[in-house]
Amino acid sequence: MRFGSTFKVAFRALRRNKLRSALTALGIIIGVGAVIAMVGIGNGAKAQVQAQIASLGQNVILVFSGSTTASGIRTGWGGAGTLKIEDAEAIRREVPGVIGVSEEVVSTSQVAAGNQNWFTRVLGESPDYLDIRQWPLAAGAPFTDQDVRSANKVCIIGKTTASEVFGNDDPVGQTLRIKNVPFIVTGVLTPKGLSAQGPDQDDVVIMPYTSAMKRVAGGTTLRNINVQVASAADLAPAQQQITSLLRQRHNIRGDRDDDFTVRNQQEIAEAATATADVMTGLLGAIAGVSLVVGGIGIMNIMLVSVTERTREIGTRMAVGAHGRDILTQFLIEAVSLSAVGGLLGIALGVSASKVLSAVKHWPSLISPMSILVAFLVSAAVGIFFGFYPARTAASLDPIDALRYE
């Protein structure tokens, strides 16, 4: 019935202490702002990781060569050179559900054209590679199976390499010298952006794996084999078949360890998103602590306010305020502080994450849901931390309150 005038009373009281109200709300502003920004950045990172994993291609199985130890130095996956071209061909031939196989050789090299040169990654692949990675060409044509068979001196290049080496010129048809071997550029890839691990995926030269083995990397073994199967349901059986096929081909018997590793896209994706989830959780928890601190700030100020305004409360009761009116007034004061703080905090959080993604290039993803939750949480913080001081105020005895010095 007199909720309206209680609002009026509460707002008048807040207005009387503008600086204090603003400082109290600041705790919530920072708390909510931090939660919004941190969770936004965490979610942005997660979305980016997911997008990048999806950009590796769908239903992909990666087979890595094993590692080797020489003089105590372990080489990491692919170092042992246990995967042979024949292994890839066997997979292509014998594992059901496989729709694409790309033999991969990786090296780095200085590349040059005209008077420009550039240090980049050189990948040897099969023509299936572009389909597996879902990576279309922006211009020109891919290399062919014939190029692979003949180890032709052809290559396609990523966007970054193209602009670093050829500037604004059209690279298609031009010559790129790699280790003093002239390669003809047949195509330029569409940009793909940064990978989940950080490197620029467009800073690359891709050529037939045979050419890479013969003319750039040397050696006759593969670092890994990219396998694509027709559907997600084929992943597990295909993975199993590849494992047993390679164990058989590599003569690994009984309980001896594999000299290769088979991973599928989902496993990599799950690991990466789990990491991102942990990060989001941690960031959110740290930010949540500041929100709780902000709430305690509200409680602290409201308690001080109740003590300081004891005479005022007594006067209000003397002129007819019910305990409930006092309770509502102090609750409204607390909730107004936290709700206004919440709204400003949302604005701060959104702009902070925008600034961070603009300046630091951190992706951020702020969902309407997280905004709604942040607002409701801040209002709830006001109710939770405002209730105790409000009840203290409402239960004061009017006579004692009037005489309070």
């Binding site: 008048r12 009387r16 202490n17 006067t315 003397a318 002129v319 007819g320 019910h322 305990g323 009017p398």
Partner: protein, 254 residues
């Protein structure tokens, strides 16, 4: 036919502090009729403040009955008492008890905000300004208490007490924090209100302030010691005149 507006029937109040029982009021019966101006006197510990709290519906008697305007308020609960205080009583305190950093107008509006009627901002403002001008504070509606003198602050408090047109105006040492000239001015306002028919009950320990009332009730040890009409009643206008002549005398002498 003229029923008393305040009727106390053997009212007692006992406080318990630890093992001790303190009998603050030990059986007071008192009738105050509409239009009376009563000064409640007594030294500290006489029970006058306790009695005032009961009269002001801030406290309930431990025993006995209190009829205010015909209704028994001795057994009402907290909220019901609050509504009685809001509608039928007006309070004036020794230390004014105005809300700090709040304009005179908003201070005066306060009881309206807790009243049964929901008034618009404009109605609140009009009522407050009207009452403020009736206590001589026209033009000071937007002043904060810190910008007003003690006498002016007490006028704001009186305006606040009057805004709900109460049956009884209760004043607890209303001149305790004021100099003698301002005290007389405030008594002048009380007498003026009393002439308009408002019942005034005032606690004071100063006999010359009590002489502005029509009736003096003196308490001691929780009982009414004496209750008699004021024979030589002071009026504010006369007292102010006297003060002026004393001032002039002093000026002439120097």
């Amino acid at each position: 036919m003229n029923a008393p507006v305040v009727q106390l029937i053997d009212v007692r109040k006992t406080y318990r502090s630890g093992e001790m029982e303190v009998h603050a009021v030990r059986g007071v019966s008192l009738e105050i009729h509409r239009g009376e101006f009563v000064a409640l006197m007594g030294s500290s510990g006489s029970g006058k403040s306790t009695l005032m709290n009961i009269l002001g519906c801030l406290d309930r008697p431990s025993a006995g009955r209190y009829l205010l305007d015909g209704t028994d308020v001795s057994q009402l609960n907290r909220d019901q008492l609050a509504d009685i205080r809001n509608g039928k009583l007006g309070f004036v305190f020794q230390s004014f008890n105005l809300l700090p950093r709040t304009s005179a107008r908003e201070n005066v509006e306060l009881p309206l905000l807790y009243g049964a009627r929901n008034l618009t901002g404009q109605e609140l403002r009009a009522k407050a300004d009207h009452v403020l001008s009736s206590v001589g504070l026209e033009g000071r509606e937007d002043h904060h208490p810190s910008q007003l003198s003690g006498g002016q602050q007490q006028r704001v408090a009186i305006a606040r007490a009057l805004i709900n047109e109460p049956e009884v105006l209760l004043a607890d040492e209303p001149t305790g924090n004021l100099d003698s000239r301002t005290s007389i001015e405030i008594m002048g306002i009380f007498q003026e209100l009393n002439d308009r028919g408002i019942t005034v009950i005032m606690v004071t320990h100063e006999p010359d302030i009590a002489s502005f009332a029509q009736r003096n009730v003196v308490m001691r040890d929780g009982l009414v010691r004496s209750d008699r009409p004021v024979t030589l009643r002071a009026t504010a206008a006369d007292e102010l005149l006297k003060m002026v002549s004393v001032d002039q005398l002093a000026a002439l002498e120097s």
